[in-house]
Symmetry: D2
Subunit: 348 residues, 4 copies
């Protein structure tokens, strides 16, 4: 009953097998491996972007920071949601990689709206040389509260960005979970919706540690390569990154694992709907749920072996009825049985 994070689960056997298969003899390093050639071609096909720059790094923070730095100047500010991973969970990596850019928070909700984005951009950048300059818009898809922007919403956000001549970046650490929720194509969720660069997450969805960065304007490719090397994110034995992505993409595994994770979350949602005192906080759209429940309930669940984070309130406390928020993330491997085991306890 492990719902703490989708980065806590195991690597999918098909990914592991691809890593094993790559472990044969000598291979040129630093991205010149044969596996990378295949991965690049596959991702360009998937994104219907034959010219796109495609690179691999090992962490989501690296993907986000390097891509944003490539789209941003140090005197600019990045527009993002208040709970964006780049703001809350990367220990100033975007500021570091960009050389000191700022992050400007849009609205106070989990999701940015086009109106709030426009208002925020308008309020910023009115002070000539004195203020931070307007920079990229960063959109997290799936959001940190588990929500998925629709294509219309994405297009509305990027339209605002374009209105001001700003690039749009998608933090796609859970790209696959969003994609299967929207049931659209990678191209539709990215460049056809106005996205200029995207991190295409693998780690949370069955890989060991690999994220692709796809930049649709190939003129940015060389700068990204230099930034990746300078950031110490260019792997010498690069084939083991490539092989993960190879296994992940083969036969649509990445969509299968995302569907499995989302389905588990849906099952969890459905089951919790029948539990007295438990309230869903956001519409469940991908593989994550946030619920309010009384302290006593949380205590009982965790004592029974359920693992998940309390994101508001403290598990220990006097009032058994106080509502605490719990976050539940389903990874690809959790399966119906463990969800049902949890639900049986939840109702108990």
């Amino acid at each position: 009953m492990f719902f703490a994070s989708d980065n806590s689960g195991p690597v999918h056997p098909q990914v592991m097998a691809a890593v094993q298969a790559a472990n044969e003899g000598y291979a040129l390093g630093y991205g010149a491996d044969a596996q990378m050639t295949e991965v690049r071609a596959t991702l360009r096909d998937l994104f219907e972007a034959p010219e796109a720059a495609v690179y691999l790094v090992a962490t989501g923070t690296a993907a986000n920071s390097l891509a944003l730095a490539t789209l941003c100047q140090p005197w600019q500010t990045v527009f993002c949601a208040p709970h964006a991973h780049i703001h809350e969970d990367e220990c100033n990596a975007p500021e570091f990689y960009s050389g000191g850019a700022k992050l400007t928070l849009v609205g106070s909700e989990d999701r940015m709206t086009a109106d709030a984005l426009r208002a925020t951009i308008l309020a910023e950048g009115t002070r000539g040389v004195h203020g931070p300059q307007r920079g990229p818009v960063s959109i997290t898809q799936v959001t940190e509260r588990g929500q998925v922007y629709s294509l219309d919403e994405l297009q509305a956000l990027t339209a605002v960005a374009k209105e001001f001549g700003l690039p749009a970046f998608m933090d796609g650490a859970r790209f696959a979970n969003a994609l299967v929720a929207l049931d659209c194509s990678p191209a539709e969720m990215t460049w056809k919706s106005g996205i200029d660069a995207v991190s295409f997450g693998g780690t949370k969805n069955g890989c060991m540690g690999v994220e692709a960065v796809v930049i649709f304007d190939p003129a940015k490719a060389w700068e990204f390569e230099l930034r990746r090397k300078r950031g110490a994110h260019l792997f010498s034995k690069h084939r083991y990154l490539s092989a993960q992505m190879q296994g992940y993409l083969r036969d649509g595994l990445w969509l299968d694992t995302a569907r499995a994770a989302n389905a588990a979350a849906e099952r969890l949602e459905a089951g919790l709907a029948g539990v007295a005192g438990v309230k869903l906080l956001f519409p469940r759209q991908a593989n994550m749920l946030f619920i309010d429940a009384p302290r006593a309930w949380h205590q009982r669940m965790q004592a029974a072996g359920a693992v998940y984070y309390i994101t508001r309130g403290e598990l220990e406390g006097d009032d058994p009825d106080e509502l605490l928020t719990g976050r539940f993330v389903c990874d690809w491997s959790i399966g119906a049985a463990r969800v049902d085991q949890f639900l049986a306890l939840a109702q108990g």
Copy 2:
């Protein structure tokens, strides 16, 4: 006949098996995995440093840059050899991670001498607030030309550093190759010889992509952790880094692979000694050789399938007798047979 680099070879089966073994169920991320607990303990034992801070990253450049940044201020300069990897092959990563520190080159040879180091330090740092301030001394062991500092030499260098109150860092991308060449203990080659922090390389010696950073003063630990996270080098699925290191350390595998690599280089050296027109440039001490040989010879070898870098001169050219320098690096997996195959050709 692949001598291009020791980062081109395969992962040792024992390392791969450890990665596989780690792929079971859920594990806390970000270094809280059980494997890391074992790795930390093992490395502390190996280094006879029960308090040392021990961290894993995936690339040698990350290990070097993060460790140096932790020992350095942005207004300082790092003293290193002219061919140091941190100077020539990291695309300004040390400058980036340190926030703009400088690198000052010591002497003009592959190896720093204590006298040259002292002279260089004395020449630097005489201008008060105006000049760069003196910073860490960085020692590459094995050097980029394949040489190994003796313990006496290391101690002489770190004594100079201490004389000026400067910390000493060891870039140990080929730590194991040096250690077996010196036949000493990790403690003797590091803190007992005055080293304050070391990167303990795994990638070039049988791992997939993992380096340990060992900092002997635990007061630096938290800063290193923050720098690692901010640099996007903290892995969520950290267990797969830990597992590599676990497999690498188990039953002294790391020493075995280093001995195999050094032995192959020794065999190559011995064989080449009998080849007319081929001249060894540096004393072979670990797993790397540099040789001068006529262009025609190099052309013949490469045409026959030998893979290695020409580091001085161009393979294509008119004069068949012009001497070109070739670099040969033996990895753990090369084996006597392939060396002999090469030598047979070399003499032919």
Copy 3:
């Protein structure tokens, strides 16, 4: 009728005379001038801080950025008010000088309250290594909306900072205007109220371009010197900075000019109180006023030669009754006559 900014006025004759007087023969550069010796001693006396580090720079942004960088680590976040100059008007200079630190906005008002500060600090820094780490609290005195923190308020803010072990910085670009408003001593408004470092502004209050940075912990002195030099803010002909500050401090000129500026603002406030349709937005406490007035009134005033910024709304527009906000800043030289001239027009 120039109310656009207190950095638009002339240099006080006494300051100019001191600069002239310094222009005699040769002097050692870089702060080793005799004038600086006097300035340092005078400021230490004024602040009752005989050990304090005292430095001069030429711009307020330099003073703020260098001082904050000295108190901050790149992975931390600075707590400040949403309208803080360091956030809105320094084009990411604090981020640049700190090496990529973040700024976290406290509350949504012009002034921070101790409660809002505590809540913001508590919300930040709960994510271990993942989130930005808690850093200095920066307090602008006078605020960007012209308000002055009382000593009680300052002490409440710095008490919260101390509760979390965080340093407190005062942006004192209008230090003198606040001091005469509070009628307290420099020591009371700074270290006796828990402030660790302060920028003591001269430029806006009668100087040409000089700000003192006073750091109460002398252990930070050398780092500040290196940061100042590295930031290109160490003047070779430093005596002309020192001389400005010398003239500014002599015979309490700095208090006289601040009193003159505040008195002019008070006169303006009193006069505007009688003008129909004009509404003061914040309590006037120093030398700045914000008023709401109908567009037609602003248009009339500016057509008549009044110079000031409209900070909300557009001067041009259809609706003559729409309320626009105007900012009025009185500098030391404005004088009662010009204020009265403006008021006569205002009522007309």
Copy 4:
């Protein structure tokens, strides 16, 4: 008898008068002052560059660092002479402003030659993404040892830069001293000789603290403005910078003061030629001399009140005959009488 530095002398009365004259009433800040309009036009005329971007900053290090950062990427290296001010005397400011670029030293002499520059550029930038990338060439005119590049030499250096597509920057802290030595026009010494940007020094030649940065490609203007603001080098009361430059440029004062300084150095050179035991180290071409003389001679001169730096050796020492190097810099104000006073002592 003050020969320590040309930044130790007084401000020329004409410059001071211009500053005084600017001290009248209100003026818009941040470069929107009327004086700047005149200065911009005058410098564009002088440089025969009607489109050039022209900005003022207060220190030479700011001028160099900001201009270089505008021409450079963080992953590049700047080619410069080993004694370049940007390398030896700016406490890593170029590294800081560029975001971590490197400096690569060309040759081992005071002056770069085109051959040494080409060889150095060729040696750098051969490692693809791994090494630092080739960046701007920085030429100090007058050099730190008092030498002046001829137009032919400048053109040869910039031709090499252009061969590799690299921009060329001139550190002109002593621009005027070089110009009058060469007896050419500013355009000839800069863009007509292939220079892309130049710092046009005022501080060392009669100003208080002002340097112009002239960038011949106006497309770089806005980036420079943002960098200047972000670096805290944009003055609010900018008119006092402008006024200095205005006074400096009026009626060719800047050429007169440079001629006076050079003439004093020439007089000093001529006089020292007749002093037994004193040997000139470099051809005297501008306002600086380096001489070798016995310790006893230096001791006698300094005891008699001559002020200058010993740049090699220690004034205190046992051997009266040991040769020490002294550096003599003549500023605009030194005059023949003080030179003669020194020479009389020198021969005594």
